[in-house]
Structures are given as structure tokens and as C-alpha cells.
């Protein structure tokens, strides 16, 4: 068994560990760091529940080896809300629009939405559907999820016009975890 010493910047903090070649990023985040907001729905890239933001892109963490993530910057759902527990506009919009039912797809869906809005701040409903098409939801029929992402885009645009406070999140801000 080959072991790899890795260091990954997770939610703004460097986390070092020694991992096996087989360990996936999903397992590293859940089992080692206990970031259980990252959900395991299939572990083979089909459901999207384990989506995290990896060097700025939405990635299914079950399809990345932990060793491959050495030196990478990873943002999980746990790193999305502000230091005082203030929710990200996407999180707020998911709550208000009823985009959450069982909640199991929610963290991955929100991370996919964040990567989308970072790259395309004003997507159409069709573009939102394309972006989340790798994230399965069995409860909602997706309508309210698409609406929540639309609402979040509008709100982020108006917040940015004010002071840009949501732009810096996920880009090096240090958030502490137990």
C-alpha cells in the first residue's frame, strides 16, 4: 500500500494528512476531516451529492483521489456561510424558495450553483438546468431549485453593487472547524 503525504486547503485552512492511493477526496473530506456536509450518494460520479468546489470548479469529490488533490483549494458546504454563521445568498434562496426537501442533494447542489454563479453571474433558467444536470434530486422536480439559483443570482448582483462582500468567500478566508 502506497502512502502519500498531502496538504489541501479546505475551506481556507491547510489540512495535512497521510493517505492511501485508493482514498478518494470524498472519503478524505468525510472520514478524515469529518466534513459530513459532503454527501455520499453513489461514490461513482452519477448523483452529484458529493460536489465540492475544487480550484474554482464544481467537481464530484468521489471521482478525485485525495492524493490528486494535494496542493488544491477545496470549498465544501461547511465553508460557504460567513464567519458569524451568516448564510450565503444561495443558501438563503434555497431556504426561501422551498428548494430543500430531504436535503441530501442540497449541499452538492448549492456548491454546483456557486461555481455556476461565480462563472456566469446571470444565467438563464436553461443554463441553470445544464449546470445542475449532474446533480440528481429525487424530491423536488428541480423547479424550485432552478428558481432559488435565479433568485440568488439577482441578490448577489445587488450585493456586489453595494460592497462586494460575497465575492471574497471561498478565496482564502480562514474558517475554523472543530
Amino acid at each position: 500500500m502506497t502512502l502519500h503525504a498531502i496538504s489541501i486547503k479546505v475551506n481556507g485552512q491547510f489540512r495535512a494528512a497521510t493517505v492511501t492511493s485508493q482514498m478518494t477526496l470524498l472519503q478524505f473530506l468525510r472520514e478524515i476531516l469529518r466534513l459530513t456536509g459532503v454527501k455520499d450518494g453513489c461514490a461513482e460520479g452519477d448523483c452529484g451529492a458529493c460536489t465540492v468546489i475544487f480550484n474554482g470548479r464544481a467537481v464530484k469529490s468521489c471521482l478525485v483521489l485525495a492524493a490528486q488533490a494535494d496542493g488544491a483549494e477545496v470549498l465544501t458546504i461547511e465553508g460557504l456561510n460567513g464567519p458569524d454563521g451568516e448564510l450565503h445568498p444561495i443558501q438563503k434562496a434555497f431556504m426561501e424558495m422551498g428548494a430543500v426537501q430531504c436535503g441530501y442533494c442540497t449541499p452538492g447542489m448549492i456548491m454546483t450553483a456557486k461555481a455556476l454563479l461565480d462563472a456566469n453571474p446571470r444565467p438563464t433558467r436553461g443554463e441553470i438546468r445544464v449546470a445542475i444536470s449532474g446533480n440528481l434530486c429525487r424530491c423536488t422536480g428541480y423547479s424550485k431549485i432552478v428558481s432559488a439559483i435565479e433568485l440568488a443570482a439577482l441578490r448577489i448582483a445587488s450585493l456586489k453593487a453595494e460592497d462586494g462582500s460575497w465575492e471574497i468567500l471561498g478565496k482564502g478566508k480562514c474558517i475554523h472547524h472543530e
Binding site: 458546504i77 461547511e78 426537501q101 436535503g103 441553470i128 423536488t140 422536480g141 428541480y142
Partner: protein, 730 residues
Amino acid sequence: MSSEYPQVNDLIGSRSIRIDAREKVTGQAQYPADLFMPGMLYGRVLRSPHPHARILSIDLSEARALPGVVAALCGDDLPEPGLYGLNFPDQSPLARTGGKVRYVGDGVATVAAQTPQAAEAALNLIRVEYEVLPVVSDMRAAQSPGAPLVHENRPDNILHKAELHHGDIQAGFAGADLIIEGTYVTPLVDHAVLQPEAGLAYIGDDGRVNLWVATQWADEDRRQIAEALDIPKERIREVITAIGGAFGRREDISVQIILCFLAIKTGRPVKFVYSRTESMLASTKRHPFEMRYRTGATREGKLTAMEIELLANVGAYASTSLVVLNTAVTLATGAYEVPNVSVEAKAVHTNASVTGAFRGFGSNQPNFSVEMVMSKLADALGMDPVELRRRNILRTGSEMHTGEVLKGGVGGIQSLEAATARAEELGLRPGRHRSSGRRRIGVGLACGCKNIGYSLGWDDHAGAIVEAWPDRAVVKIGACDVGQGSNTVWAQIAASTLKLPLGSVSIARNDSDVVPDAGSSSASRQTFVSGNAVLQASLEVAEKLRALGPNAPDSAFPVIAEVTYHAPKTFPFDSNGQTARPSFGYGFGCQVVELEVDPDTGDVRVLRVVAAHDVGRAINMTNVEGQIEGGYLMSQGYSLTEDYPLKDGRPRATTLAAYMVPTALDAPEIVPVVVEEPDLHGPLGAKGVGEMTMLPTPGAIGAAIHDAVGVWIDELPMSPERILRAMGKL
């Protein structure tokens, strides 16, 4: 809303944010796989690779000798008889020497090890000698003389038969101007809940086994665990975690018995998480049905007779199949009044996945058939499909084929009119297309009716405790919030009754030591049954607080009310399938679907959907819409893509890549229409909504495909291949 229903405050019918939304959007909600304990072991199960085999021997010695393995056990280590099952015990969590395995995925042996890797390695060291037996795979062949038996004590592989006779079937056909016949077929399908089955068990300081799990009914889990492991139910404490979807699947036992068994045998905490493939292999499915419908109608479009044969594939074990078949019989004529009906129904074993509860519970299959029949009748009579349905739909005063006369809370016609009116506004008119070219547009509609509650003589009840202080309250109830939002409904009902802000009502953890049993989160019953319990308990504590006035208790001593609400009594079938009241209520719905068919490839793309559903009264409008939208899309998957095919008993789609759940790109824009025809007995007039949202979809899609390309597809899923074949292109 009529005045007989209590007028509360603006919380009822509101768009209040679900009370668990914050923990779910922040990733803090804990599902069972998110739990860890020091010294915890990892459980795994070895499953049968054979659809039908006798166990000649099981050798666990090598597995037990592997470093890191703490226990390796099989059915021989269980107490006798060690069986479980929802309707009656016929399933063993693990195989015994000399016993049988009956489907691919049947549990054989289990291990607990210090690491997942050791557990995995141990499974590979278990030596099982199988005598492979002939596979029972076809429902009709299963009943022929000399067919191999799945269960030796069930002749002809028949688990259950039901019959219904209403009116005079001969006279009904004699009075018909038109008779149409058809056979309809539906597939085995998987719930594909996003959260694979998981749990954690440990022995508490008091020696009891503690089980943390995601389920639909903790009390029934405990009964089955106790029975299988031969321990008193009181020795099991079950705590419900966040639940990642259920849809009926979590009514059956998955990890529960194995986890308790391993925790008792090892004395250590044990965690067990299914992989996706294990989840698909081992979990229950929806019953495949073969249905023959012979239907008579007058020239004016009045139904005169329906002769129905229902054949349901039970798979390997009984689960809830008796009740599923009885539900299919109760709802065999769908949302319509038919004066003369005969139904013959059989539930047959094969060596396939176990079938059990799945959103709709035996109503989806006959409803698909009935709606195809109605669309074909309209076509044959040259009648507007809306008008044909209008002339036959169940109304207050209608006599159902079970002999029940409907007394009220019947929202069939309201749903039909609401759906078609909204569709008209959007320019959607059923059955008037026949476009040509590359994109053939079609519009179809269908209705549906689903009973609420356990029905047919069960004492359907729920307990609830409300503890209140002047400024806050706690609701204690053993009802599982599987994602549908029931905890938010309890908080809304309690807060509105006690005139508190929603945030001042909390829901106690669903812990069997703390909460009273509230029955299963199934049968679209929780809002109705448990909702009534919470409403009554809330009214009682409100009255007590009022009586105390300024002497209201301080924070240490709440006023408490405990209520067990019993839903209106229902009655079982007599020998003719007749009963004065099979169910205490019904939910109705109507959906209009616009889609396009590519006539060269057979691909179907659904464009727009209007889904109108009578929910009695929406307690939470956002959540009701969410049920409608989600139920519609789940049923679109059932209609067009989802299939769990078996070849000689071997499953061929055990990943989410092979099993085609709709994605956001497959989902149309769904327009939910909430119809509120108050129920006579529901809390504040509310009924249920979960299941009925799936019912109209396959029939509406079938009608729309016919509208687009002129062919009827009588078998689900309506795949491109089936469409092209019907069009004569394959």
C-alpha cells in the same frame, strides 16, 4: 373555506420556511452515515449472487481469522425462527444452512470489522456452497403446474388473491355501445432515494441496544427487530436521524436488524452503510403489474362496465404485497364511477427483488391502465377527453365499485376543471394536435385518485404530546419527516393554535424513548392522522393555559397534553370486495402534459406540465407545491425512462448511470395548481398529497404521445424503442 373549520391565523396555508431548512443548506443535518463513535466497527453483508439457491454450507472460519474482524455471522447464529416482514414474517436477514436464498441480493452472512477494508476483505473469505435452483422469473409460468416454488408453503407461487364484484357485469356490457379491451404492463422500478440505507447501533449503559437510523416508522422497525432477534421491543431504542428521501422504501427493514444483531454480538458500536449498488440490489421496489381491462361505455360516454384482471409480481418475499394488491383492487377503476365492475387480482412470487411500498402503493399501475382506457374511449367515440372524464369522474354522492358512497371531500371535478382551465390559459389543449415534421407536439391529460391512510379495517392512529409554556412549545411525535416537511406541518399547526411565532415551537428528536408512536410516514397519512393528533393536543394545552391565566407555569413546568387520535373507522372487504368504507378519505388530481416526440428516434421531451391536486387544505403552500412538482417528475421517470430489468432473475441496472432517474434537463417547467376541497375529517380540512401527485402522469404522457404520433403505448416505460415499434419503424 367553510366556517365549520377552525379559522386559525395566517400560518396555515403560508409559505413558511421549513424548520429544518437551515441545517440542510449548511450541511449540518446529520444523516445516519454522518455519525461516528469511538471504537466503532464497520458492518457489511455478503449477498446472494444467485436468484434461487439452497445453502449447503457456510464457512466463516477464514473470515473470522482475518485480523481486524470482530464478528462473522450467518443465519445459523440467529435465534429461531429469526424472521421478519411487514405483513407477516417470511424473510430472514441472513441465510441458514439448509435454507434458501430467493433473489440476487438476499442476505447470506454478515461481518463486523475495525476498518471498512477489513470488512470488505472478510466478505471475500466467506465460503458458501450453493445448490443452484431453477429460477422463477415469469409471473404466468410461476403459476403453472410443476413450476418451481419460491416458497414451498405457497402453492402455485401465489401469495394472495382478491376478488371484487359490483353491480351486474353482464348487464353492464349488454348496455354498452362500445367495448374496448387492452393489456397494460408496468415495470419493476427503484425509489432511487438519494441517501443510501445506513445506520449506527451500540449498546447503551443500561444494556439496551440503541439504533440510529433513517426510516419511515420506528415503532414498526422495533417490532420487527424484536421478533427477528427474539428480544423484548423495550430493549431497543430507536432514534431517527435526518432522512434522505423515502418514498415507501424505508418502510421495509434494511440495515436495522443486522446492525442490532452485530452490536449485541460484539458489544461495540457498529456502523453499516449500503453502497449504491447494494442499495439497489437489496431494497424493495415497486410491483410490476400485468393488467387486462375490458371496458364498456355508451355512445354518450358513460362507463357501463369494467372487467379487470390484475397480476402483481411480488418478487421473493411478501413485505406489504397483500395490502398493495388490495389497494390496487380498491382503486382499480381510478378516479371514475363505474356501475358494474369485476376484479380478479393475484400477487405472485418470482425470484425477483422484493416489492413493497412505493409512493402510490398499488394505485399507480391500475390508474395508468384506466387513464389509457379513458383516452382510447374518447378517441373511439370522437369525444373531448376532458368531457368524457367530466361525465364519469367520482363526485360527492358517487358510488365507488367497492360499494362506498362518497360523502364529501371529493375534489375530482375541481382538479379536472382547475387543470384544464390553467392549461387553457397556457394554450394547452388536450388531444387536438397531430402536427407533422421533425418535432411532433402532443398534449394529453389524465386524472387520478388515491386513498389516504392505511384503509380496509386498520385502526389508523397517531399519538402526539404537546408541552407548552406561555411563550413556547415542544411537539413530541414519532412521525418521520422523510423530507416531505411533516415536522414543519406540526410546528405550523401547534404555533397557529397556541398563537405563537413559528420559531417558538420546536419538534423533539424522534427518539422512541421520548415520543409516542405516530405510525408510518406512508399512505399520504401523516398530515391527516398525526396532524389531527397535534391539533387536538395543541387545542388542549391552549385551553389549559387559558384556564391557568396569570398562574401559567414557569419555565420548569410546562402544561402537557397527550392525545392519541384515531382516524375514522374503515372496514375490510367482504367476500365480494365490497365495503361501506374502505378508506376515510381520498385525494384527487389532474395533469395536462405537453411534449414533443421525435418521429425518427422515438425520443420524448416533455415541455410543459400543469398539475392540479386537491389537497383538502394546504398547511404549507410551498411544501405542497414541492410535493406536486417532485411527485410529477418521479412519475415522469416511471413513464418514460425508469426500469430495473431482470434477466433470469439477475438485475441489469444497479447503478444510477444505468437506472435512469430524471435530471434537471429532463424536467419540464411544472405549473402546480393547488385545489382545496376541504376534507370532512382532516385537520383544518387537510388531506394528504404525497402519493396522488404521481398518479395522472403515465396516462397523461401516454395520451400526449398518442396526440403527437398517433400510437398508444400500453407498457411502461414508454421508451423510444417501444414508440418506434408501435409506429412500425422497428
